[in-house]
Amino acid sequence: MSLQENQPLYQSNLNTRHRRGKIWRTVFIISTVLAIISLVVLLVTIIDDSFGYAAISYKIPLSEIAPAGVPLESLTCAELIPILEENVSPNRFRQIQSEKPFEEWSQQECYETVVYEVGQPKAEETWSLFYSIRYADELKAYVAQKYPEGELIFKQWLNIDFVTQPQSKDPLIAGIRTAILGSLYIIAIVIIVAFPIGIAAAIYLEEYASQSRVHRIIQTNINNLAGVPSIIYGMLGLAFFVRVLEPLTSGYVFGYSSEATANGRTILSAGLTLALLILPVVIINSQEAIKAVPNSLREASYGMGATKWQTIWNHVIPNALPGILTGTILSVSRAFGETAPLIVVGASTFVTFNPDSIFSKFTTIPIQIYQWTARPQDAYKNIAAAAIIVLLVILITLNAAAILLRNRYSRRLS
């Protein structure tokens, strides 16, 4: 206040100016808080659905499987296996044995197999985590009354088995191993295809192409393509990779043949489609990163007698790479979560075998989530939530790895 001077043409408006700044600061804080709240709500909802009570009913009550009076879980493997043989069909018994010889089974495995194969449990109703905690007693009473032969168990829908087991019609034992592998295969193809092509195109457009009308038209088109809905790319993938290039994408031309022929609806087709989808974004991001390389560096290089290629290879690309990677990481994450184009390209909804090559049928985690959320039974909703958590964890892992790599690289540079 004491510093205030008295000049006729100036009015003292310092307070107003400061207040305006504070208002905007509040707006920014609110925006950030809103974003955080929505993320937290998302996470809480998913976790809420991934754990909780489930009412299980059995076709044959567990008490009737075991010899009278003895609880099933106290039996040894030697006692349990005859029960299993007695109650399942001979075919099924041989099948179970062929997956893993009985000699190697632990007691826990024997018990679980008997419960599942003989008792044939079914998830009748499920409840979310918070509801389960809050109304545990009511739920126990309700289940005891409604499913006298069943039981109420606290189910962790997200568990190791869920990640390591293949798909199944039964939500109690369904896993997403095949979907995880499908997703990883596809993302590998996306990176292998979109990354070099995108960077190469960006280098051409930024470093070589002259500023002509054609260049401007190409640039505008790339920008527009980045905004085309992903399902359009799915249709392109179906028409081109699945139909036109079927001999290539199903592997006939390479002499690959499989009994479960995929008719072009393969991991390769899906990977190429998603690569096309993110290509414009990769190009635009790479262009921005290349533009950000200071011109003084190019001049320094040329001034030393470097050729254009030496300049690009030794200075432009290394200095643009961290920026290129940032953009690419984001677009690969987007491809990882894409669902719509893969449905159009022909993702299989039920794949119980690991993809063994890029010419296999495929399913991905988002496809699985989509399939499961579309079903009416309670339990599918729970495994969909569990799958979402797996998807998020894989995404975070991939991103963190890529960012670490990038940071290590940029540190080496400076």
């Binding site: 002259s210 500023q211 200071p294 003084s296 560096l297 190019r298 001049e299 320094a300 290089s301 040329y302 001034g303 030393m304 007698g305 470097a306 050729t307 030496q310 030794n314 200075h315 290394p318 200095n319 540079l413 400076s414």
Partner: protein
Amino acid sequence: MSINIQTSLNKSSSSSVTEHSNGNYAVEARRLHVYYGSFLAVNDISLQIETQKITAIIGPSGCGKSTVLRAFNRMNDLVPIARTEGEVLFHGQNIYAQDIDPVEVRKRVGMVFQKPNPFPKSIYENIAWGARINGFKGNKSEMEELVVESLKDAALWDEVHDKLQQSGLSLSGGQQQRLCIARAIAVKPDIILMDEPCSALDPISTLKIEELMRDLCKNYSIIIVTHNMQQAARVSDFTAFLTLDENRAGILMEYGQTNQIFMNPREKVTEDYITGRFG
């Protein structure tokens, strides 16, 4: 004024064409015109640069000093809209001739820029890189020798000898600029172009660079563009004064020994500029 210019130009260009086959000069511009699009930036400049001397180019902002400098190693080629007419003779050859590769020119005519721009690599690599891309055939120890020698020639060795693997960007501004000079002389050019090399540096760093230039001119011909007239007076043997004509194109107003330009300029415009009455 235009008559004056005409006479001075006629004098210089006629003498060079008849008397010299360029052999005595490090580099020589003949009737140089540079256009940016349709704008004429450098209008008919002829200039002979003496071997193993320091030639300063001075003049008001926008008079085409840097453009002239960059014409000597074809850096203007990097500007898509730039077009050069006339000849620049280097070892008797016009570097703008069809069969001359600008890459080769730039190896022979090195350049130091206004803002220090070392590569974001180690100090060692900053110097080794230029030699390597230009086809340096020596083994590892010969390369090390070259790096050490270049750093010593650039008066930087004592300050960096124990941190050759550190990033070039970790040095101070003046050290970075000397690193750029070391980098330039590592590829053994005949000529070093300096585009306001001290404008981003403090007085002490500037002094070091100026001393370095005096040392370097025993082996190299140096052309320096500078805004600082004291610097031109202190450091250079010859001075070219450029100014703008009525179409804002750069013209050579006066060229001669630095003493003569500063003590006894032939042109009134030169005198006005040097004494600070114009520009």
